[in-house]
């Protein structure tokens, strides 16, 4: 491929459009070439190239047919992957992770706590993370609704939202809800209480939905005197679960609880998108696989509480071999910075291929969030969320050198200061490790 470089011209052309940031607009066409391209969807291409056009991947292959005006990024000796995706993060919420005042809080919207200048976003970006699912905590059986972000650190809050991403809601089970409410001598203090709260909540939602259905029927019949029922944000959210409008993401550890959760989902007619943590999935993987529920799991965190005592680092690969869609996740402001290494451990623990391993932190993680048609692999038509690594990203020695989101450079290790072309000024910090479980003192608060 021969290209004529015109970066200067492109830069000048972009100048009048600069409004909010000091960084130049990304080029209309860019080619990253001579990289070892791990596509996550169709294997690895040695000395491969990716053509990015207007923020989308236009082509990928041994060669690409890009226009001569394309800006060329030479990645000789480097590795290229899709952006890393974390399907379980509590970063950048100023520690407002749990509305732990009631075990059922489905109308809480995590977007309301999102702090787009939190340093945790920057640290994750420097680890190659381009998309995060920011979840409510696990204090409540039914928690709040998540926000999906693109890690465009330096842009406005609105500009960081993943456009039209599916809505997710966080459920929890097991030790955390029963400890939080049990310690106050409230329901639930047992797993019996946990699950009964869920059933009762959906019974309430059914009545609520029936009220609205009756009203809508009257309106349809032209009854002018029909009075709309009260809108109840909590019941409305639960109704959306039953209507299949929310992806259900369940914090759940124990084998028996996966089975109970699936039974309740079946009883009330909703689908579970993924079990999170899911450390005992290897015990019942054959039973869960046919449900189509995925998992977002740790690689090797274990033993921090009773329900993590039977965790084994082979869980992810064993579950994958049983046919379950497996993603790895951080639940931590620390681990989110090196999810690529966590994927590397899967080669060690269970013999995942490099292809399978990288998929666990890219395409499969995108699937958990429901954005796998837009990001998570290097395929034409997808968002150009890309990371250039110095060496194989699955090795301990990997550093993210350049991180692109929608074709725009958001992290450049070689750049001065923070290495963030779009960010300047001061960062915030919520303090703490930003995680819930798996931390040494993981207390679910």
């Amino acid at each position: 491929m021969r290209l004529r470089l015109l970066p200067g011209l492109l830069f000048l052309a972009a100048l009048p459009l600069l409004a909010q940031t000091t960084a130049p607009l990304p080029p209309a066409d860019m080619v990253i070439q001579n990289a070892t391209v791990m596509t996550a969807s169709h294997g690895t291409i040695e000395h491969g190239a990716v053509w990015v056009h207007n923020g989308k991947i236009a082509a990928v292959g041994a060669t690409v047919d890009a226009p001569a005006t394309a800006v060329v990024v030479d990645a000789t000796g480097k590795w290229l992957t899709p952006g890393i995706i974390d399907p379980h993060s509590h970063s950048a919420l100023d520690n407002d992770v749990n509305e732990a005042t009631s075990p059922v809080t489905p109308s809480m919207m995590m977007i309301d706590a999102f702090d787009n200048r939190d340093a945790a976003l920057y640290h994750a970006l420097a680890g190659g993370v381009t998309t995060e699912l920011l979840l409510h905590g696990s204090a409540n059986m039914i928690g709040g609704q998540a926000v999906v972000i693109k890690n465009k650190f330096g842009l406005s809050r609105d500009a960081m939202l993943f456009p039209n991403a599916p809505r997710s809601i966080k459920f929890a089970s097991g030790e955390n809800p029963k400890r939080v409410y049990g310690s106050r001598n409230q329901l639930p203090s047992t797993r019996m209480g946990n699950f009964e709260i869920m059933r009762q909540s959906f019974e309430d939602a059914k009545v609520y939905m029936a009220g609205w259905d009756a009203y809508n029927a009257k309106v349809a019949k032209g009854e002018k005197t029909a009075v709309a029922p009260k809108v109840d944000l909590k019941l409305e959210a639960l109704a959306d679960v039953l209507r299949g409008k929310l992806y259900v993401q369940i914090h759940c550890y124990r084998a028996d609880e996966f089975l109970t959760e699936e039974a309740i989902a079946k009883e009330y007619g909703y689908k579970i998108r993924a079990f999170h943590h899911a450390l005992e999935m290897y015990k019942v993987a054959d039973q869960i696989a046919p449900t189509g529920t995925g998992i977002a799991t740790f690689t090797d965190w274990w033993g921090y509480k009773d329900e993590a005592w039977d965790a084994i680092p082979w869980n992810a690969v064993m579950s994958m071999r049983a046919g379950i869609k497996v993603a790895l996740k951080s639940d931590s402001n620390d681990h989110i910075r090196r999810l690529n290494q966590e994927a590397g451990k899967m080669v060690h623990y269970g013999g995942a291929t490099e292809d399978e391993a990288i998929r666990m932190v890219t395409l499969n993680a995108a699937w958990i969030i429901g954005v796998d048609d837009r990001t998570g692999s290097i395929d034409p038509g997808k968002d150009a969320d890309l990371v250039i690594w110095n060496v194989d990203p699955l090795s301990t020695y990997a550093r993210a050198e350049k991180v692109y989101i929608d074709g725009d450079l958001f992290f450049d290790m070689a750049a001065p200061g923070f290495g963030t072309p779009h960010f300047s000024g001061a960062m915030h910090s919520a303090g703490g490790e930003g995680g819930e479980d798996g931390q040494y003192d993981g207390d679910g608060d």
Binding site: A119, Y122, H123, A126, G127, E175, Y282, K283, D300, W301, W302, G303, Y304, K305, D306, A308, W309, D310, A311, I312, P313, W314, V317, M318, R321, S332, N333, D334, R337, R338, Q341, G344, K345, V347, H348, G350, G351, A352, L394, S395, T396, Y397, A398, R399, G417, F418, G419, A426, M427, H428, S429, G432, E433, Q439, Y440, D441, G442
Partner: protein
């Protein structure tokens, strides 16, 4: 172990290798009667470079010979372990763990991490709480960790005295290689905890004053004790018994500080902030403490000063988070920055913000590897989890490198020990092939039928 077949061909190879190795050596727990010759492997000696096609002989539990193939005589009757394609290196040593002081993290009944009733607790001996049969030890051992320092959690200014352990042995007495090998000290915001702000000490000023007073009290105690002892030697002392004035009451707390005031053993000072390091080191110098600094993850501004102290440093966890407006790699690059300044460094397995590693000890080599990614020379990284740790805690003549006369703590792996993708194939401790099983492998095998 053939049950592993279904999980992957890689594990099958692992199973076969393990069986071959076990057949060739001996069951765990038996003494090493026959010499073992590990041949054809790539030897990372730590002390004298890499030997590509090397031979390592273990006899009577110790390293009897090391060298290139052809230059090392293999004793008659030796068990030959073919290590072709494998990397052979000394067992890893974690300088800061809580192994044996906790089991399930959230379970208070199995937790003996710290005694928080007072800030000055030098008379707490980790050896009294160490649970040798913990399920955590085989898990760590499977990844090539053969030795560790066990220290109390950093809740007190003086938290207690550490032990140095071997991750194999019949019982506690076999596993503890050294009792009271170091004094665990801490200084910083974490220790000023007394009743909110209402009880002394509630500030760093209080903590330092309390510490200084305690060390002076110990000096005074020693002088009083020695005077009492002399008094008892005088002819007019009618008791005539050795051991001094019988009416003299020992103070175990004060006594526990004396070896450290004499500089006989190191204190491990857990400090994070640069200005806290400076405050602590003033006291340490005043009392001539033999210091090993621990953590120092927020000392980027005073690295030259730290180097000038000429003390070894356990640096990290490398996973500690930087301050909000620091560059993302401010902590990742610390091991390299300190080593560059000639500081002898060790690296521990702990997670960000936590006490010494327990469940995470198996990840020790990856911490070191991550330091390499951010500029630490590879050889320094390997030393930081082997020989340097042994030397800091007084085991430099026995552990930490592949040298003749040292303990036969040897690891065989299928690649670079610092890489997350590498499988450890066999671990020897005291020249004995350890069973490559843990509670976790048993669960894996049970559900992988």
């Amino acid at each position: 172990m053939t049950r592993n077949v279904r999980i992957s061909s890689d594990l099958t190879a692992f199973a076969i290798a393990a069986v071959l190795l076990c057949v060739g050596s001996m069951a765990a727990g038996q003494s090493a009667a026959k010499p073992i010759a590990i041949t054809g492997g790539k030897l990372l000696t730590v002390s004298h470079g890499v030997i590509e096609n090397g031979v390592l002989v273990i006899a009577d539990g110790k390293i009897a010979a090391v060298g290139p193939a052809g230059q090392v005589a293999i004793p008659a009757g030796a068990t030959i372990v073919d290590a072709k394609g494998l990397t052979v290196y000394p067992g890893l040593i974690d300088p800061d763990t809580t192994l044996g002081l906790m089991e399930v993290g959230s379970d208070e009944n199995s937790s003996d991490l710290a005694e928080p009733s007072d800030e000055i607790m030098p008379h707490m001996h980790v050896s009294d709480a160490f649970h040798a049969e913990t399920e955590l030890i085989p898990v760590a051992r499977l990844n090539g960790v053969t030795n560790a320092v066990v220290a109390p959690a950093p809740e007190d200014s003086v938290a207690g005295q550490d032990i140095f352990i071997q991750l194999a042995g019949k019982n506690r007495d076999e596993m503890i290689l050294g009792r009271d090998v170091a004094l665990a000290m801490n200084y910083g915001a974490g220790q000023r905890r007394r009743g909110g702000r209402s009880e002394y000490p509630s500030t760093r000023m209080g903590l330092i004053t309390q510490l200084r007073q305690s060390l002076m009290d110990a000096q005074h105690y020693e002088a009083t004790r020695d005077a009492a002892s002399k008094k008892s030697d005088k002819p007019e002392d009618k008791s005539g018994e050795k051991g001094g004035d019988k009416s003299f009451q020992r103070d175990l707390k004060m006594e526990a500080l004396l070896p450290y005031l004499h500089g006989e053993r190191p204190v491990v000072a857990g400090v994070y902030e640069g200005y806290d390091v400076e405050s602590f080191m003033k006291v340490a110098q005043e009392f001539h403490l033999k210091v090993i600094l621990n953590h120092v993850t927020r000392t980027q501004e005073i690295l030259d000063e730290i180097a000038a102290y000429k003390v070894p440093v356990i640096v990290g966890p490398i996973y500690d988070l930087p301050r909000p407006n620091e560059r993302y790699d401010a902590v990742y690059t610390l091991p390299a920055e300190l080593a560059k300044r000639g500081v002898k460094i060790a690296i521990a397995s702990g997670e960000a913000g936590g006490p010494g590693g327990a469940h995470s000890v198996r990840n020790l080599p990856y911490s070191a590897g991550f330091a390499v990614a951010y500029g630490l020379p590879y050889d320094e990284a390997l030393k930081a989890i082997t020989l340097n740790v042994a030397e800091m805690f007084g085991f430099g003549d026995k552990l930490g490198s592949l040298d003749v006369g040292k303990t036969g703590n040897i690891v065989l792996a299928n690649g670079d020990p610092l890489d997350v993708r590498t499988d450890v194939k066999q671990v020897y401790i005291d020249g004995i092939a350890q069973p490559m099983v843990s509670r976790q492998t048993r669960l894996r095998d049970e559900y992988n039928k």
